[in-house]
């Protein structure tokens, strides 16, 4: 128990020092920009299909299940559009998407940095005089906090399409009913909450995963462990942050 608590504080201290080093002035902006663009492409384009696929089913399942729950009640059927929209914007798009991205992008970042550490790539860069923490982490952080919110917007939009496809062609409701629900009680502040969540979650999954990868020990088991820890720790922290943001922004 005491060892576990000490380990948490040790990790926290090392993480703070790593982030301080990672956020130092780059040696050469053009090299960092090039790396940031590469990361943006990897995170954004590389995750677009999986995000779209998950989102369409999230929207579809939400629509069908709410149709089931609302059947035989006095609540109008067009409410399904409203529920699917706000569910996507407030919770499923930012949280589920980032949990999935922690598994895909986060584990990939941990494995990439861990592999570089084990194959002495990081040492090689250090010997050249490169601030490796900055060069290898800062572009990932910037790319993630820019691209992941965009993926979350896409996710929310696709979830609404998923809800439409699951309810309109199947005869649960008509297209005007669904559209009416989508447009009802619209609150732009909810989009602000979604944006805040996605930026915070993007930072968490990147910072945690790069930390796990950067300090990986020698051995393939360690690499696998770091990758798994990156996902587990990111997921727990994302859910914790989700609760705190919900509390702070909707209280």
């Amino acid at each position: 128990m005491v060892t576990g608590v000490l380990q948490i504080f040790t990790d926290l201290g090392r993480w703070i020092l790593l982030m301080r080093q990672a956020l130092q002035r780059p040696e050469k902006w053009s090299m960092y920009w090039k790396e940031t663009v590469r990361q943006m492409y990897d995170i954004g384009i590389g995750s677009l299909i999986i995000v779209a696929l998950i989102s369409i089913f999230m929207g579809a399942v939400a629509a069908i299940q709410f149709a089931y729950q609302l059947s035989g009640q006095l609540i109008p059927i067009w409410y399904i559009g409203y529920i699917v929209r706000d569910l996507a914007i407030l919770e499923s798009a930012p949280t589920i998407t980032c949990l999935v991205l922690a598994g895909k992008v986060g584990s990939n970042m941990a494995a990439e940095l861990g592999g570089m550490r084990q194959k002495e790539h990081i040492d090689a860069m250090e010997i050249m005089g490169v601030n490796t923490a900055s060069y290898l982490i800062m572009p990932k952080l910037i790319a993630a906090v820019v691209v992941i919110p965009l993926l979350v917007y896409v996710s929310a939009f696709v979830a609404m399409i998923g809800g439409f496809l699951a309810s309109v062609p199947t005869g649960v409701m008509t297209a005007p009913e669904y559209t009416r629900g989508l447009l009802a009680f619209y609150e732009p502040y909810n989009v602000f909450i979604m944006t805040v969540k996605s930026v915070v979650f993007a930072f968490i999954l990147t910072a945690v995963s790069t930390y796990q990868g950067y300090f990986v020990k020698i051995g393939s088991i360690e690499l696998g462990k770091a990758s798994t820890q990156a996902v587990v720790a990111s997921n727990i922290l994302i859910l914790l942050a989700d609760y705190i943001i919900a509390l702070l922004l909707t209280a």
């Binding site: 040696e27 002495e120 010997i127 050249m128």
Partner: protein, 251 residues
């Protein structure tokens, strides 16, 4: 130098001379790699000094040590080539990061370095597409691209056939002499010891067991050195033949 309570290196005092190939030799676990990592600043000594041209580099800040490292080139045991970059991009990386040269100047320098290590026409290949010996040569080209004053090589011959090993040794030796740089090689390759060992340090259990040049090896009466260098019966017979010839010549 110690890891936890276990001392790894004790009382090491050595001078590595400019324009010479300085060798650190010893059995596995003798502390060769730790000594090399101390020299390049990847590890920090518990006590003592490491002087580069009279400058103590042991207690520099991260930023200061990076400035010193601009004068350092290093060839890693596994070459440590970035596998997501081509051969040319690997060699060009330090130039991209630290110089404001034009693209043509950079490409010219890369081509010169490739020519120098007898590798041409591999610019667009990825490290995985070239042989182990070629990877070492690309590693050397990358190490010398910024015209370093100090060249460190960690087991440059490991995993290579005898012919390629000789080629790599000759290359490192000629580059050292041509550019008048201080080269430190960590090896347990006996051919390297006898062919290019101008200043040799033999480590045993973290301490210097013997110090001399290749010319002193045969005539040395140091038991540990003889045991280490002439470990195989074949080499023992060769040594005896050489000593017999020497005494005949003297008579």
């Amino acid at each position: 130098m110690s890891f936890g309570d276990t001392p790894i290196l004790r009382g090491i005092t050595a001078t590595f001379e400019r324009g010479k190939t300085n060798l650190i030799i010893g059995q596995s676990g003798a502390g060769k790699t730790v000594l090399l990592k101390l020299l390049v600043g990847l590890l920090e000594p518990v006590q003592g000094q490491i002087l580069y041209d009279g400058r103590d580099v042991t207690h520099l800040t991260q930023k200061e040590i990076r400035t010193v490292r601009m004068e350092v080139g290093m060839l890693f045991q596994g070459s440590a080539l970035f596998d997501f970059m081509t051969v040319e991009e690997n060699i060009r990386f330090p130039l991209d990061m630290f110089t404001n040269w034009t693209k043509k100047e950079k490409v010219d320098r890369v081509n010169y370095c490739l020519e120098r290590v007898n590798l041409e026409g591999v610019n667009d290949k990825f490290p995985s597409e070239v042989s182990g010996g070629m990877q070492k040569r690309v590693g050397i080209a990358r190490a010398i691209v910024l015209k370093p004053k100090f060249l460190f090589c960690d087991e440059p011959n490991s995993g290579l056939d005898p012919k390629t090993s000789i080629l790599i040794d000759d290359l490192i030796h000629s580059i050292t002499m041509e550019n008048n740089i201080t080269t430190v090689i960590n090896t347990h390759d006996m051919n390297s010891v006898m062919e290019i060992g101008e200043n040799i340090i033999l480590l045993n259990k973290g301490e210097i067991a013997w110090h001399g040049s290749a010319n002193d090896v045969l005539s040395s009466t140091n038991d540990y050195l003889q045991e280490f260098i002439f470990a195989s019966p074949f080499l023992q017979r060769l040594r005896q033949a050489a000593l017999d010839q020497e005494s005949k010549d003297k008579r």
